[in-house]
């Protein structure tokens, strides 16, 4: 794997899989311009949503057939769980398993900024356009450098390649994961034999037997307690775990430039929700 691929594995793909269920809960509101773009497609047209995450755009227009793909198995699992009628698959945005010149339209919302080099971002846009028919359009969103008024406060003059923290809280909705399950079962473990079973033990051996039994029981309890403390510590750690995702923050005009480099023409462009967007058309 190249350095770029290794970096994307560690700071994009691994992180999305780890934060999938938590991330998915924050993603449910479609952005207006994306909705407009989808609603503008004709009855029975077909499209792709590259990096569809939990699939929040897949059912916006019920009269089109959209295939959503994402590199994160975790998020695709969330998408399927939200709506089992979504057409979703696990695939990489640079290796889409579709034939060229096939789709009427494409969207890729807040995904292209995760590729770590300009070359790869342009290649990704070119790859998306390759799947669209001639004259078909792709709507692409990338996070903006210019978001002074947002919570993050990114602004012109900063380094455009940033590591964005995601704080992973152990919320009750996470409590069905395996470690907290085993933790609660350890806590609730019954001590079935509160008294030693002396049947078949000679009276002269009973005292020694009881002593040994007590000792073993103490050891068993100590083991269980250590196990439990370990699990609780793990859960505490998880409460405060911060994961970092790589983003390339786009500055004004840059996304248009990348789309042109990728061979598309610019149909429309603008700024919405701290993102730059472009509608690019396949020549």
């Amino acid at each position: 794997m190249s350095d770029a691929q290794l970096k994307e594995q560690e700071y994009v793909h691994d992180v999305y899989n780890e934060i999938a269920s938590h991330f998915s809960e924050t993603r449910y509101k479609p952005w207006p311009i994306v909705t407009d773009f989808l609603m503008g497609q004709t009855m029975g047209s077909i499209g792709i949503d590259v990096g569809c995450g939990n699939g929040k755009y897949l059912a916006v227009n019920p009269n089109v057939f959209v295939i959503g793909s994402d590199r994160s198995e975790g998020l695709i699992g969330c998408a399927h769980g939200i709506n089992s009628h979504y057409n979703v698959m696990v695939a990489d945005g640079l290796h889409l398993p579709h034939k060229d010149n096939t789709f009427d339209f494409a969207i890729s919302i807040a995904v292209v900024h995760h590729w770590t080099t300009r070359e790869r971002r342009i290649a990704a846009i070119r790859h998306i356009l390759s799947k669209v028919k001639k004259g078909g359009r792709a709507l692409i969103y990338c996070w903006a450098l210019e978001q002074k008024d947002s919570r993050r406060g990114y602004h012109i003059g900063m380094d455009q390649d940033v590591m964005v923290p995601w704080v992973l809280h152990a919320t009750p909705s996470n409590s069905n994961n395996s470690s907290s399950n085993s933790s609660s079962s350890a806590k609730g473990k019954k001590h079935d034999h509160e008294k030693p079973d002396l049947t078949g033990i000679e009276p002269k051996d009973r005292a020694a037997f009881v002593t040994k039994w007590k000792q073993e029981r103490e050891e068993q309890r100590a083991r269980e307690k250590a196990e439990q403390d370990d699990l609780e510590k793990k859960n505490d750690d998880k409460e405060s775990t911060t994961k970092y995702r790589f983003y390339h923050l786009y500055k004004e005009g840059e996304l248009e430039e990348d789309c042109l480099q990728a061979g598309g023409s610019i149909v429309n462009h603008g700024y919405e929700k701290d993102n730059w967007y472009v509608i690019t058309e396949k020549q």
């Binding site: 794997m1 004709t42 009855m43 029975g44 047209s45 077909i46 009269n63 057939f65 295939i67 793909s69 590199r71 198995e73 695709i76 699992g77 399927h80 089992s84 009628h85 057409n87 979703v88 698959m89 696990v90 695939a91 990489d92 290796h95 889409l96 398993p97 579709h98 034939k99 096939t102 009427d104």
Partner: protein, 134 residues
């Protein structure tokens, strides 16, 4: 994944793009488990337009892989898309059941060119490649 999705799935391996055998994938009928979801509503107008975008020979191949050899050899054509007659509707209804309501919930599919096997689990196909093929 819906049967219709098979019409839009090829092998992810770039090198297979130069062959004609990377589409459709070949489905292992003995390992594919199918389910029908009757809750998906029939929309003839939608389906007629979808059919325009479908490669019929690939539909036939995948249907045969899965044990269905009763489809017409040629893609159905409709005289007047704006006023579908009874016969048209009957054909479309059958296609709705096959393409939209039928899905593969567990199974395996293989590229006829490179032989790579992809899996479908819990209705989700995984087309990611192992690092040495990516």
């Amino acid at each position: 994944m819906k049967f219709l999705t098979t019409n839009f799935l090829k092998c992810s391996v770039q090198a297979c793009d130069t062959s004609n055998d990377n589409f459709p994938l070949s489905y292992d009928g003995s390992k594919c488990q199918l389910e029908q979801d009757e809750s998906i509503e029939f929309n003839p107008e939608f389906l007629v337009n979808i059919l325009d975008r479908v490669e019929w020979s690939a539909i036939l191949q995948v249907a045969a892989d899965l044990g269905n050899t009763s489809l017409p050899p040629n893609k159905p054509i409709f005289e007047d898309k704006n006023s579908l007659n009874e016969d048209d509707m009957a054909i479309l209804r059958d296609l709705h059941i096959l393409l939209i309501q039928t899905s593969i919930v567990e199974g395996e599919m293989k590229c006829k060119n490179c032989g790579h096997t992809y899996y479908i689990k819990n209705s989700i196909p995984n087309l990611l490649l192992p690092p040495h093929l990516a």
